[in-house]
């Protein structure tokens, strides 16, 4: 199991960040992904594998300031 924004989700092997975002339907283009406290750069979404037990935060960034 992993946790995505404090919701439990079943883990499987070779789960990349890209796939995880698809599964969770996070299609919004401007997000920050943190896994176990570490930021994952956008360029690493395809190759970065989510470990079992991971605590994942997906933060949506909205324009305005």
């Amino acid at each position: 199991m992993i946790s995505v924004n404090e919701q439990p989700l079943a883990w499987r092997e070779n789960l990349s960040v890209s796939e995880l975002l698809k599964i969770c339907k996070y299609s919004f283009p401007l997000i920050i992904v943190k896994i176990n406290g570490e930021i994952v750069a956008k360029s690493e979404y395809e190759k970065f594998m989510v470990p079992d037990g991971a605590n994942v935060s997906v933060i949506h960034l909205m324009s305005g300031g």
Partner: protein, 205 residues
Amino acid sequence: MIMAENTIFDIKNISRSEFETQFYKRNPPGSSGVLKTKTVAIAGAGGLGSNVAVALVRAGVYNLIIADFDRIELSNLNRQQFCYEQTGRLKVAALKENLLKNTAAIFAEADLLVEAFDRAEMKAMLIEAWCKAYPQKFIVAASGLAGTGRCGLIKTSAYGRLIICGDQQSEASEANGLIAPRVAMVAAMQANCAVEILLTGGVKV
């Protein structure tokens, strides 16, 4: 700030230490002694950044590094801390987007960074660059502050040393504009988090 302070000293004929004593008299005891020694970087000097800067100076933070590439327009004056006479002037020295790539160098001396940009793409670039360069330092960012009402949705969320203020859902657009009360609320939350981090080393959400 220094010039304004000097002018006040001349008019009121009081010493700098007496000025500081009176100015910070109502702040929490012991806070100004700590905050005057810290440096805060603010990326952006618009609706968020200008309000954050004013709040931090009033809180007693003496050293600010502010970066922005924009000039002041009339359409800024509904929510930003500038006046009519200043329109057309640079908000601070031009830095443009390549600033983001050199974040590490520009903001290196800061104890923490306040993200106060307008566009979400720039927010994302800055957060990523800062967290990679300074995983041990805090960044206080804003996301979701457009429109009116919905005070109860605005919150502070902590993701390790990345702090996000805002409702994380209200995107600025032509239909959903930026208006002073909600922008200032989020700016005040960012300044509040910055002061808490400087005084206590963390944020309690």
